[in-house]
Symmetry: D2
Subunit: 307 residues, 4 copies
């Protein structure tokens, strides 16, 4: 996120804008926690995880009353545009705000889940997957030494994007995600068959939001069906954070720059993104009504890759 | 472990020994899974986590019958010495084996828990603590952005060594370990006081084996007593594995070399170690009957460090 | 590379092929260093840098005689297809081999320089840029503490791809690459202006193959023109190696799978790639006659980003 | 350094002191760049490399006049003690300052070179060695794939401490340091013998300050004497920086706490340290007149380890 904030601030200033940061997300807007950002305000953050503006959830904004209040504040303060970084929830909130405020709203997809329609990648996804992969590379050393089956839970409440990439990158036998139907018998059969073929250990990667349950639940369901019990590892918060990858920093910079561009072109009610290598602007309404699809091609490779 | 195996093999060979590796730990010994190790057998492993010899638990060896069988095999195969890498369980097993076999037994402390008496550090501890610290540095980015209390569980069934080092290194408000009495009211009071002093987030590091329970249990007990609910992160298996730190590689090399030295000096029934900067050999019986103490000085600093 | 080899071997076998690995690159082919690959031959390599098949340059293959010999060997051994991983040099060699051998030749772009026409990214680029970025993040700690100008040399004999991504990701003031004209006076003026605006330190990222010279040469030319002397850091070999990023592992897997697909479709004389999110096959002749262009959009952002 | 500053500030405040930070080192003292440090001033720095107080060299302080001025300023401002973090140069400066100022001076060893007499380890050494080891682990992937000899230069102008630890940890064939006599013929003979024994690649680790020259110079001298030319890698600034290891953070915390302790005990003209596991205070005069010795035991293992 920081690389994106830096790009908006510096490119905005270079092009003549006055830029204010809102601390603490939408609740911060309602609490008028603004601060003018100068070029030096965003020094030395391009390489840091998290966000220098902090963030937070807002119950108040969920209500129509809160949305109207936010619009009133933006108007009173004389703001003419709002750059909103976040995931599906943020884009949803922006479609509400649009009803009551006539300033230019430009969304920027920032969520590790990569489940926002309108961009191939959202900011944070690449780093999160690398974090998960690094963690699993470590578990591999243990798995190898001990001949074990590991059931590894990664983030993804509604989306298997992280699980799919992590699973392919770590050589998982099986990838379990919400977008596909999970057949526990089939999972067990594959693990047992792998053991018979001489595999000494196996990874199952599961997205937290699978319809058969999280890692603990799936372990319970597999119990007795596979030769040996599996160990669980829930990666959790370590998937976030850490210095971002170059991919995320470059993407964040491009999307920030493009957001400023869109502002000067007079666009509003759009989310910027990158689709098939091209910078894009998708109507906010599409980002919340359309569903991003999982990479079927990658999923189709898993069985052959783990023979 | 690999750096230690490499040191034993190469220094052993350089000094004229024939060295055999036993695959799969004590069960591997019972199953006669030996293989002669050449200098090239241990090429390219000095920087790898885990162990090239694999490991495993043995139910059979726990029984007197198994111990006698192991002794018989060692004798039949003509082995004159045994280097045993492991933690308290391994050292305990060696004291049993000693009863039935007259070869030279030399233990080497290898366990991430650092709970073996007879050495300041055991092989693997430094890497495990660095792994945990890196993971928590990532969580810090999230904690900072969201103003949260994090309850982080690290390894340590009977020992607070990892928790103590991790806690100091990560600036934890509170370190909860089995060696000290945990007072839940006191923990809650400290967290609340920190919030009042303006701390935006806090880390509590808890060893899995604390007498008040693991992280989930302690979270339950804290519930309602602290201003805001805490998040849990169980680091688990990612604490093992990964390329070892230089400290562990150098320690493993020194202890391996010293073990070969001890063998040539005719020592037996000892565990090598490093105490106050000096290579040492402690009777195996001491390693299992005496308890390593936790670093009280470090624990005493926590309150002042988190004002 | 390993993830790609693994994909070819396993998917190839799953689809009925017999796969042989050639050790030591084209010279290995001339020396008949083949070995049949089984599914288990590529176990436990998906996460490793380098290549399990080793590599090497071949003087012999550069001559027509060598190319004919290679063709003869491939024919005699009964091979029907060849998957060749490498950069521009490899693709060039394949266009030669095509003249004398009628088997199917399928190239796969694997070079950290990302300078091969016919794919948006080549295998290894993402990891190399992340390695460089991590190194520079460390240098940043020193630069910040000491108020210095750092001139950092990254790989790229003919291409500024690495330098451009590294420069944007690390917040460089200036990016110096072979594809654009370097004006030393302008470089000095920007550094001095940054100092005047209050910047405490600055990074200049230079591709090794810039027309004004490498980092040492450019430092010499800047000497006396900037307020304070700059320090040099040549990243060199640390840009290669290390566990690959998920991006590279996933890309390598997709390209390997696609190469096998292309083989079954009867294609030959092509290089697989991914262009704008779609798997592609570009005639080998195009990959060596056309030049990949640098990302002008990114370069255009540098000045505004470093105000 | 940051973990040490944090420890001094918070423990000092907890025990009733007013603590001021001096920005920019000794020159900062001469320029009166002080700022009172509160407990919150050192929030969120325990995990960061570099120093939040910045640093710098001072020509002015090298002259007697400058030393007197520093003493005058310390007196006028009413300071009663000075905690000085640094290497041999800093300790040397403190012995000068002592002559003109009667406040309590307590040195703390902070230098990656680990060449300060009076402590087993100085702050920063462990992290620097890990940084170097991680870099070389990456180079290993390349070395393995290409069968090469690598000559790697690490920091150490007068000291082989980094080179020795790095060399052992990375499995170097040869370690070249200023403390021992380097015999180029012998180096070449060992490399050639290793090749003959079937070693596919080799690492030579050289400290920058060896009497036979730096890596470039030694490469030149080896040229023609070894079978194949060697590649050079100068690690340089990447050895500094990066998030510190737990070892360094814990050591820095202990030494900071101990420094405050020493202040309350009325000690002056000493440098704190840890020797054989015990916190210590060594007269400053000894730290500059006595020389720390290199670990002969480790060096003695190199030949056997690389058979």
């Amino acid at each position: 996120m920081n690389a994106c904030i830096r790009a908006i601030v510096r490119i905005g200033i270079a092009r003549g804008l006055d830029i204010y940061g809102i601390y603490g997300g939408l609740q911060g807007l309602l609490d008028k926690r603004f601060e003018q950002m100068k070029a030096r305000s965003v020094s030395n953050i391009v390489h840091r995880g998290g966000t220098c503006l902090t963030t937070g959830r807002s119950e108040e904004f969920r209500e129509e009353e809160g949305q109207k209040k936010a619009a009133r504040i933006l108007k009173e303060e004389g703001f003419t545009g709002l750059f909103a970084l976040g995931g599906n929830g943020t884009m949803h909130g922006m479609t509400k705000l649009q009803r009551y405020w006539e300033g230019q709203i430009i969304g920027i997809p920032g969520t590790i889940d990569n489940d926002v329609y309108g961009t191939d990648y959202s900011i944070g996804f690449d780093t999160a997957v690398n974090n998960a992969v690094e963690a699993i590379d470590k578990i591999r050393d243990t798995a190898q030494s001990f001949d074990r089956v590991f059931l590894i839970e990664v983030m993804g409440r509604d989306s298997g994007a992280i699980a799919t990439h992590v699973g392919i990158a770590c050589g998982a036998e099986i990838i379990i995600i919400p977008e596909t139907t999970t057949d526990i018998e089939d999972v067990a059969a594959k693990i047992n068959a792998g053991k018979r073929r001489g595999k000494t250990f196996a990874f199952i990667v599961v997205a937290e939001g699978d319809e058969e349950g999280d890692a603990a639940e799936i372990k319970r369901k597999l119990s007795g069906k596979i030769v040996e019990d599996c160990r669980i590892s829930v990666l959790g918060y370590i998937q976030r954070g850490g210095n971002p990858s170059h991919f995320d920093r470059v993407l964040a910079t491009k999307l920030g720059a493009h957001a400023v561009d869109c502002f000067f072109k007079g666009e509003s009610g759009v989310m910027v993104g990158e689709i098939a290598g091209k910078l894009s602007a998708t109507p906010l309404i599409d980002t919340i009504s359309k569903k991003k699809v999982v990479d079927i091609y990658l999923l189709g490779l898993v069985d052959a890759l783990s023979i």
